[in-house]
Symmetry: C2
Subunit: 151 residues, 2 copies
Amino acid sequence: MQRTDFGDMTCSIARTLDIAGEPWSPLIIRDVWVGIRRFDELQRDLGISRKVLTERLTWLVGHGVLERRQYSDRPPRHEYALTAKGLELTEVLMAISAWGDRWTAGAAGPPTLLRHRACGEHVHAEVRCSHCGEPLHGDDVEVDEGPGARR
Amino acid sequence: MQRTDFGDMTCSIARTLDIAGEPWSPLIIRDVWVGIRRFDELQRDLGISRKVLTERLTWLVGHGVLERRQYSDRPPRHEYALTAKGLELTEVLMAISAWGDRWTAGAAGPPTLLRHRACGEHVHAEVRCSHCGEPLHGDDVEVDEGPGARR
DNA sequence: GTAGTAAGTTCCTTCAAGCAACTGACTGGA
DNA sequence: TCCAGTCAGTTGCTTGAAGGAACTTACTAC
């Protein structure tokens, strides 16, 4: 989808960007997540060209992030839904959104709020350590070689 | 940097993507984060064209994600470093990386591992609720209008 | 039989990506 | 003093993806 192929870099960030890193894709995934599931709705909401939207949807379906399903037989009508793989990407979106709220919202405040159903509060996403549960910041970690490292 | 301007959409995801959503930017930020700070090192490591790298670095410096500093006077030499704003983006990168490890790494396993200095373990990023600390998944939340919503 | 909707497809233009070569300021060695 | 090398870009050319608008197909509703 972009000129340089990120898919075979030995890096989980590059590989993720290869699947969903093209600038429109996160917005498409967000829209499907919040219930905007149909071609024309997506096109109107995003202001994306129909051609590019077709390409992105096909790509995301092909990579198992979205699935396309028929909700009407006659006339044949389709909508898009997140797969389990796609639904997990929304955690990345929540982290992106938290950063945007903090650094780009300005005095007006964040354009949207997230309500956590379990606790009922307006919350934001926090990135935490899977082992000890403490907040995980950029300078709290070291990067080591993993089993999938190359050469 | 892309054809459609995301910067004035009323959405923290779009605004974040406007700053750092072009496909190379997250990889540049990751590289600076792990210590690849100089122009030629970045160019070699990423295989990015020098022209595009120049544009991206200038853009990221202009948006306060990176800062350019001179580490040698004669000859004048520069390197790039993360600002506080940029360092917080690495939390998003860790979330992206966790998704990539889970869904794209395959049998070989993840190419890199993250060691959390505080607890000493190899860990991955988890997105959690800022209020109750429970894991935050895509279907655990509702999206409400925030104070910065438009119209 | 006309209007409308959903989900694309086709065509054309323009702008950004990729690539390679060049520049300029300096260092270090023969 | 000359040559090679390094760092940090800049310039110019080509190609391909993005954006936009119009068209298509298959149906429904009036």
